[in-house]
Subunit: 480 residues, 2 copies
């Protein structure tokens, strides 16, 4: 372990010098991920997976509270099934991995590994839906999906990644839209209240929306390097999929009708967001509510009488109060330990040695600010609870400041381009709604539309790109 | 829903007349599963998945209590990696589904969808293990695997099925064997204390053990039709895999050594076991601790004043006491409701109407025995707790009686064959340990060796098949 720690605490790349390398260093040295011999396919190591498990637990509870049930659909999709909805297959077929052989036999029809599961849900629903009494169907599944992308980076772009995909079916369009927005709000809650990441809420332009969707709601986060990360999307499909799959129900008025569908997904990509929103030059900084270990206890002079017992007692107290706590009483030097848990982003370090014992106190060190506090062992549970909430709030405030300080209005393509080049961040402009202008912004300023935000501002009457009458205000940015 | 309920309560096939069809009827009509257009690949519907979720929650807690952490390995394995351990590839390659194309490009090396993940874990460990301080590694993952089997049946034999696979690495053989046995005992606990299924504990013969294992520990359960179902296996690999993958560590004595490995798996196949152990001619019978709904409340004369409120109050009380409770106040006729929840195997039905309200009582009906009890609403939580425990114990006792009544000693191949033909069940005989005799038992009596049980009995000195000196007592049976 001494050897391992040494590896971990080797200097990581400075984030201001090379953000990309800093990011990769953190993924590896915080033991979140390992590479495999397959390009774009990674091992999610126990520490990385534990973050995902905490996200899962939080979200699964929210899903169940909002009436959803979990299912398990197949991981494979017959090619003919994938082709049933035209826009959908065009969007996903180029990225599919294809199974062509089972054992030694060639398959009659090739099967793709699911890139997403709309077609499977619709096929199943076409078997079981008959009456308005069968609706709504509020389904979710936790699984991995596969998209054969050309480039790859840890968490940001995997060929295989873990996610949840919710799929729901409703008797009316209104109800389906309400559901789409409900789950979008659940995602916003996850970002803000679990992960301390502020969001810009909006919907995607036609160009950027999900293949087959009528409307895609998105959450856009700003990373430390001012680039955008899309963090959770929720799609309203109208009745397009249901028609393509022949799903129909007998309504209360005894008429045959076509139901309306939604889907919504949130993936391990959000871990990239956590790293790039909160991390620093000592490594990962984890928001306390999602941290696998919230408090790491490091006994000081642990060979001295009573020290380990005193540390154990504090651990028992904190565990009983519901915190995720670990003690490191290994034979590594304290300096190594400090660096290791800083790299891993543990929100609070608790040190307790003979001198502290005399004073009935311990030392608490905040990972986010480095602040060192001497606190009484009496009421340590309350102290830790308050500090963890403070850390969450500080991380959120810092990220919000980054977002606000780096969002700029622009009134022409030239200005937008200049702002992106000189300052980066999100540029907001009025837009006419035409694809042509969207493509021009991409080509000339290197920015894609991030979203048409819910909170519209009136920056003028005309499109910043073409000067025609404006329809919306749009956020533009360079995205991961 | 009236229409749906009608379908559900249509008579299912009599289990004594056609057990196979009865089983399929229950899988479909209890809404556990749906077929897809792909052979051997099923949809696990919300009710079936909820059973699996309860098993997962119970097991995951046990795994974590015994020091294990969860990870996510890739779903794909390069062919060259699968081939590194000779016995393993011979066992699994014939059942692999192969990915040959990514998007429109043919892959340089084909990839199989994991049939099991020993090779992936070993490859990863070869990157991260250096010192004795890195050991033990106690890993688990929840995922689905794919085996391209020729025949298929719901839960019993899927090409894709959900499971957990634990994989661990240890400095010594003793520690690895201890781990293998520890997890075998965890599985036995799941069978007995969660699923009310008695087990025969033993290890597999060389012929029946896992491809690449030195020893496979198994749990064998007896179904209602007296056939055997293997329910959880735990494998000790020695250092074979570690050698094949070049995993080595520096031990305390500064010597380079090869570590020892285990793996252990438990799958949704256990749901087949639940159905075939406890089910009856009215459908599924769920052991209370795993039932998604433990108590279904059916208001009687619900249009009358105060009835719904009184039922709601009971539901709130039971929920607060930690039970999984639902109320069905739909407009279906009570008869339909009764039949529907009987089909779904809900352990307790609670009926409460105006007359009961006057007497401060309700009616409880046990799914297992059909017994009807009039109980006071005072202390309803304690009453329900006791009844659910009683139901668990009754189901276990009934299954144990089935196992004991249908296990017979035999002293010759002829006798074993006759017993299997006339009575079925498990036949126990002495065995010399030779593959030849094992194959002969299969060929002539149609039985495979189920296990060499932990609890050996001395039925004689010689092998029942060849008459040579006996090594063990073996359980034989016809297996799913």
């Amino acid at each position: 372990m001494a050897q391992d720690s040494k590896k971990q605490v080797e200097q990581i790349t400075d984030m201001e010098a090379d953000f990309t390398q800093w990011y990769t260093d953190v993924c590896i040295k915080a033991e979140l991920i390992d590479y495999t011999s397959m390009k774009g396919i990674f091992v999610l190591r126990p520490y990385g997976y534990a973050i995902w498990e905490n996200i899962q637990a939080y979200m699964d509870k929210k899903f169940k509270e909002t009436g959803h049930v979990n299912v398990a659909m197949p991981m494979l999709i017959p090619e003919s099934l994938l082709q049933k909805e035209k826009d959908h297959v065009e969007g996903f077929a180029p990225e599919c991995a294809w199974v062509t052989h089972g054992g030694s036999e060639e398959l009659e029809e090739r099967l793709c590994i699911r890139p997403t599961s709309e077609t499977l849900f619709c096929d199943h629903w076409s078997h079981i839906v008959q009456s308005h009494r069968d609706l709504p169907l509020l389904y979710n599944q936790w699984c991995s999906v596969l998209r054969w992308e050309k480039t790859s980076r840890p968490f940001l772009r995997h060929r295989e990644f873990l996610w949840q995909e919710g799929h729901t079916l409703h008797a009316t369009a209104e109800e389906a839209i309400e559901e789409t927005e409900r789950m979008w709000n659940v995602y916003a809650d996850v970002c803000e209240n679990l992960l301390a990441m502020p969001v810009v809420k909006g919907y995607k332009t036609d160009k950027e929306k999900f293949a087959g969707a009528e409307r895609t709601y998105t959450l856009e986060c700003m990373m430390h390097d001012k680039k955008a990360l899309q963090n959770g999307t929720s799609h309203y499909f109208g009745d397009g999929f249901a028609k393509a799959f022949g799903i129909a129900f007998t309504d209360k008025d005894n008429q045959q009708k076509t139901p309306f569908e939604t889907s919504w997904g949130y993936s391990t990509r959000t871990i990239a967001g956590i790293i790039m929103t909160h991390g620093d030059n000592r490594g990962l900084v984890l928001p306390p509510r999602v941290a696998p270990t919230q408090v790491i206890i490091i006994p000081v002079a642990q060979h001295k009488e009573g020290v380990l017992e005193a540390n154990q007692k504090v651990m028992d107290t904190l565990k009983a109060a519901g915190f995720r706590v670990k003690m490191d009483d290994s034979d590594k030097a304290p300096g190594w330990k400090f660096a290791e848990y800083e790299m891993k982003g543990v929100p609070l370090r608790l040190e307790l040695g003979p001198k502290d014992m005399e004073k009935n106190q311990c030392v608490l060190v905040r990972r986010d600010s480095g602040e060192k506090l001497f606190v009484s062992l009496d009421g340590i549970g309350e102290t830790v609870a308050k500090l963890l909430d403070d850390i969450h709030d500080s991380l959120y405030a810092k990220a919000l400041k980054n977002l606000q300080d780096n969002t700029f209005p622009a009134y022409s393509l030239e200005e937008a381009k200049k702002l992106q080049e000189e300052k980066g961040g999100f540029i907001k402009t009025m837009w006419c709604g035409d694809l042509e202008c969207e493509l021009k912004m991409k080509e000339e300023a290197g920015m894609s539309s991030r979203c048409i935000p819910l909170e519209q501002e009136h920056l003028g009457d005309v499109c910043a790109i073409c000067g025609k009458s404006a329809k919306h205000m749009v956020y533009w940015g360079v995205a991961y």
